[in-house]
């Protein structure tokens, strides 16, 4: 390898390029060197293809890094000392750190699981007082960056700050709008159509000194939206900024999606939407936007006890990490945390936004959804199929029975509805609930249906009607706080009881950490505690009712949390960015 001052190769603290010193000199040879590669584990799946096969990649196996080193010295004793120093770094856990020659790219770290050393005998070497060895390192499949990063899901307003929502544009006038296509104002939204790439700009100064969350609703009645970019123009004349998507979810009515972005400056003079469409020649394109608002409140569903947010996952391949859910003052209660890679459908687990009929709900701000609803009469939810990615779902309800100690049955159904007609199979099930003596709220798994009940096309307007009702209205007294549909085919679920009394070391917890396995400790762990430095944290496995394997896939992971006892719990992910071979940050 070129011996420049810029590049380095260390095994632990051992310099493989310029190591040694007085007793010997170490040189790593470029000839035959290899970083190896992560080995894909591929599975051929029998399919209905007449020709060819369906192949999936189940994971990746370890890589082998190999290179030769030449130890040279003035004496053969020096050669042996070099060999001994090198061997001390081998046959154990270690790290190989590589800095590319130009010194621009960051250090790449390979986690060494084990290693071996092979002497390459050559009868002339000892005459030349040099010896050549082959170093073989068995490493984790992917490399990682040297520095751990912390991705914070969303900034939270300070406790006690009153939520503020202000309109930027209500969509009822085209006056402030410009774009590369004719601006049309229809009903309560702005419409552009007729081009593969359309830019629509809302002009006019808006203050974001406090209200940093910009939300808007958009829809694409025609065409296949490939990409939506949002940027803002600073009022101080600075560079146009692309803004970060921090949340997405269903809009206020069927075909609309809601986006929330986070800005950092105090004030802007314009917000720009750029929509790019696939297959424009065949499918056309139409972009609608409305309800542009600014708020100091991060997105929530019902109350701030259940929140959806996104996490930036750095790196090029999936990574392990430590997910933290924390609140400064309140214990977290019975935490639900569901993570899934962003798949672009706007899917969210809570069903309350889709409720269409029920008994009169009772407002209760202490509950997760903000209301409780008796289910003597069925609760009905109509969920757009576009919001339910195909998969195996787990229906989880937070319920309370007012008849303690008596087992009661909850029935559920799910059916596809096209227009006003139910079509296809009616999925159904029931669950017996044994309420606790104190009459408190509990989580219950009602069923595990495959959804949607019937396949539909991507642009379908069909809904899945879900009903939940007590089996016997006369014999039961069951209230529902919220129903969630967790897609277990795409996401991972965690449920931990952190207690709901005032947080204290060894008692109820206001902090929860999920640590995935590492090479140093192949056992994942769940900790809960009081102090931010984890000094009083303890294993919460015994308090855990669900603990799926968590995977953090770049660039963005969605995180949905329910913390019944805490408002606005913070979420963050501490991780080393992982890369296929070379680190980019």
């Amino acid at each position: 390898m070129a011996d420049t001052a810029a590049h380095q190769l260390f095994l632990g603290d051992f310099d493989l390029i310029r190591g040694g010193g007085f007793d010997y000199r170490m040189e790593t040879l470029a000839e035959g060197a290899s970083w190896g590669n992560a080995e894909p584990i591929e599975v051929v799946v029998r399919s209905l293809f007449g020709d060819g096969s369906q192949v999936t990649t189940e994971g990746f196996d370890n890589r082998e890094v190999t290179f030769d080193v030449m130890i040279s010295a003035d004496t053969s004793t020096g050669l042996a000392l070099g060999e001994a120093d090198l061997y001390r770094e081998l046959v154990r856990r270690n790290q190989l750190k590589w800095t590319p020659p130009d010194g621009v790219a960051p250090v790449t770290v390979f986690e060494v699981l084990t290693s071996s050393l092979t002497h390459q005998f050559n009868d002339e070497d000892d005459l030349l007082t040099q010896r050549r060895f082959t170093v073989r390192l068995v490493c984790e499949p992917f490399s990682h960056s040297l520095t751990e990063v912390v991705a914070v899901a969303l900034e939270q307003p300070a406790n006690g700050v009153t939520p503020t929502v202000a309109a930027i544009d209500d969509g009822t006038s085209a006056a402030a709008w410009t774009g590369n296509r004719p601006i049309q104002q229809v009903g309560n939204y702005i419409k552009v159509d007729g081009a593969k790439v359309m830019t629509v700009r809302r002009n006019g100064t808006f203050d974001t000194s406090v209200t940093k969350y910009i939300s808007f609703e958009y829809a694409t009645p025609k065409g296949e939206l490939a990409f939506l970019a949002v940027s803002v123009v600073p009022a101080d004349g600075g560079v146009v900024q692309n803004v970060k998507l921090v949340a997405r979810g269903p809009g206020s009515s069927a075909r609309w999606n809601r986006y929330t972005v986070l800005v950092t400056g105090p004030s802007y003079t314009a917000i720009v939407f750029k929509a790019t469409y696939n297959h424009f020649e065949k499918k056309g394109a139409e972009f609608n936007v409305r309800k542009v608002t600014r708020s100091n409140q991060s997105p929530l569903v019902g109350t701030a006890r259940q929140k959806f947010r996104t996490l930036d996952v750095a790196g090029g391949v999936r990574t392990q990490g430590s997910l933290a859910i924390e609140h400064e003052a309140s214990s977290l209660g019975q935490v639900l945390a569901y993570t899934w890679p962003d798949e672009g459908s706007g899917y969210l687990p809570p069903m309350r936004p889709w409720l269409t009929s029920s008994e009169t709900p009772i407002q209760d701000s202490t509950l997760v959804s903000g209301t409780s609803t008796r289910i003597d009469t069925a609760i009905t939810y109509d969920v757009p199929t576009a919001r339910l990615p195909e998969g195996a779902y787990q229906m989880v309800a937070r319920v309370r029975s007012n008849i303690a100690g008596v087992a009661q049955t909850i029935n559920w159904t799910a059916q596809l509805r096209v227009g006003t007609s139910g079509v296809g199979t009616v999925l159904s099930g029931s669950r017996v609930v044994s309420p606790p003596a104190g009459g408190g709220w509990v989580y219950v798994v009602l069923g595990r249906p495959m959804l949607p009940p019937a396949r539909v096309r991507a642009n379908s307007t069909a809904v899945v009607r879900v009903t939940v009702a007590a089996a016997s209205a006369a014999a039961s007294d069951i209230d529902v706080d919220e129903l969630w549909m967790f897609n277990m085919s795409i996401g991972a679920l965690l449920q931990v009881d952190c207690g709901n009394t005032a947080p204290a070391p060894g008692g109820s917890s206001n902090r929860l950490w999920l640590d995935t396995q590492t090479t140093d400790d192949p056992r994942p762990a769940i900790y809960r505690g009081f102090s931010a430095d984890r000094s009083d944290a303890f294993d919460a496995g015994i308090n855990t009712a669900a603990w799926d394997d968590q995977q953090f896939v770049p660039p963005t992971m969605n995180v949905f949390t329910v913390t019944p006892n805490a408002l606005d719990a913070a979420v963050s992910l501490r991780h080393f960015p992982h890369w296929h071979t070379h680190a980019a940050s």
């Binding site: 999936t56 990649t57 189940e58 195909e390 396949r455 449920q495 294993d539 669900a546 603990w547 394997d549």
Partner: protein, 347 residues
């Protein structure tokens, strides 16, 4: 990558103890969760209180149990752990009432076994009256439930949450197989059109109950089956007739199958066409196999089979399913069937 179910043993999440892999589990109908195994290499001499015989083993999917049972005798030197399903515990508890007398009332036998430690929950009635007039032999709960199921033409199962229920075979398909995915051979080894059941009446006198399926006899031929219910104790003529009819109702007068089904998510879908999550396909489900002509029913271009046994290795892309009525063709299957019947003291 396929998602993975989780293991919890004795209330401890197994991944908290150490890395594990190769989880495989089996369901049966009747029965429910039947067997499970996994691999786990532990340091020599390592012991953990959760890895003791009899600890509750739960296969978890999110917050839901998909399989539960009890840990079998763990061998620290072996890297494979096994668990038996909760339904198997019925083979370990005898039928007694609260006073310690033998009983043939299914509800009483199960309730008292639960009191003595059977890890079940009973919510529905399995039978509130005595099955036999006398209880001459000692019978296990499994034998009593098997007999009661035969009388009703139903099957009993214990679900992963430990609830025992008596249910008929399903009639609505839970899954559909695409045409061309499987071909099932027919076997007449277990077929019979005429059932003769030997029993002992209330006075102790031997008698024979008889029933037949004349349509099957006309289609597949006359074949007689001799059953022996004398080991149950003294039963009424009506009960004997119900037992014989139940044997017919559960498929004796149908031809069996010679092969099982190996299915992938592409070949196995919901009624709505959504590819199956294979972890949800269990014994007791009814699968409609399209593209197979049902030789045992007229004018049907599909065959409905109830799954008698499902074997799934977690996260695999295929599942092995044994249809109800599959003929025991291997020595292992024949031995298991014989020993199971002997162990339950039924002939």
């Amino acid at each position: 990558m396929q998602r993975r179910r989780q293991l919890r043993v004795g209330g401890v999440w197994l991944k908290n103890i150490g890395p594990w892999s190769d989880l495989a589990y089996m369901h049966r109908w009747p029965g429910g969760p039947y067997e499970a195994s996994w691999s786990m290499t532990l340091p020599q001499g390592f012991r953990h209180p959760a890895l003791q015989r009899g600890q509750l083993v739960e296969v978890m999917d999110g917050m839901g149990r998909v399989w539960s049972g009890l840990l079998s005798d763990p061998d620290p030197g072996e890297s494979t752990f096994k668990a038996t399903g909760l339904c198997r515990e019925a083979e370990q508890y005898l039928c007694f009432d609260a006073a310690g007398n033998t009983t043939s009332v299914p509800d009483v036998a199960v309730d008292q076994a639960i009191t003595r430690g059977l890890p079940w929950v009973r919510r529905m009635s399995l039978g509130a009256t005595a099955f036999t007039a006398t209880t001459d032999p000692l019978n296990f709960v499994s034998a009593l439930l098997d007999s009661r199921a035969d009388e009703l033409g139903q099957r009993w199962r214990v679900d992963p949450d430990g609830e025992v229920r008596m249910l008929p075979d399903p009639t609505v398909p839970a899954w559909h197989m695409t045409p061309g995915s499987v071909d099932l051979g027919l076997s007449s080894d277990e077929y019979a059109s005429h059932i003769f059941l030997r029993y002992r009446g209330p006075t102790g006198a031997y008698a024979t109950a008889a029933t037949s399926d004349d349509v099957a006899a006309a289609q597949f031929g006359h074949r007689e089956f001799a059953g022996d219910a004398t080991g149950l104790g003294r039963i009424t003529a009506g009960k004997a007739a119900s037992l014989a009819a139940g044997v017919l109702a559960k498929g004796k007068a149908r031809l069996g199958w010679t092969s099982g089904i190996e299915a992938t998510p592409v070949e196995l879908t919901t009624a709505g066409g959504v590819p199956a999550d294979l972890s949800l396909v269990v014994a007791g489900d009814l699968i409609r196999i399209h593209g197979l002509f049902d030789e045992q029913a007229s004018a049907r271009a599909f065959v409905d089979v109830v799954v008698a046994e499902s074997q799934y290795t977690d996260s695999d892309q295929s599942i092995s399913l044994t249809p109800q009525g599959m003929t025991e063709r291997t020595l292992a299957d024949v031995l298991e069937a014989s020993l199971t019947k002997a162990g339950r003291r039924r002939k």
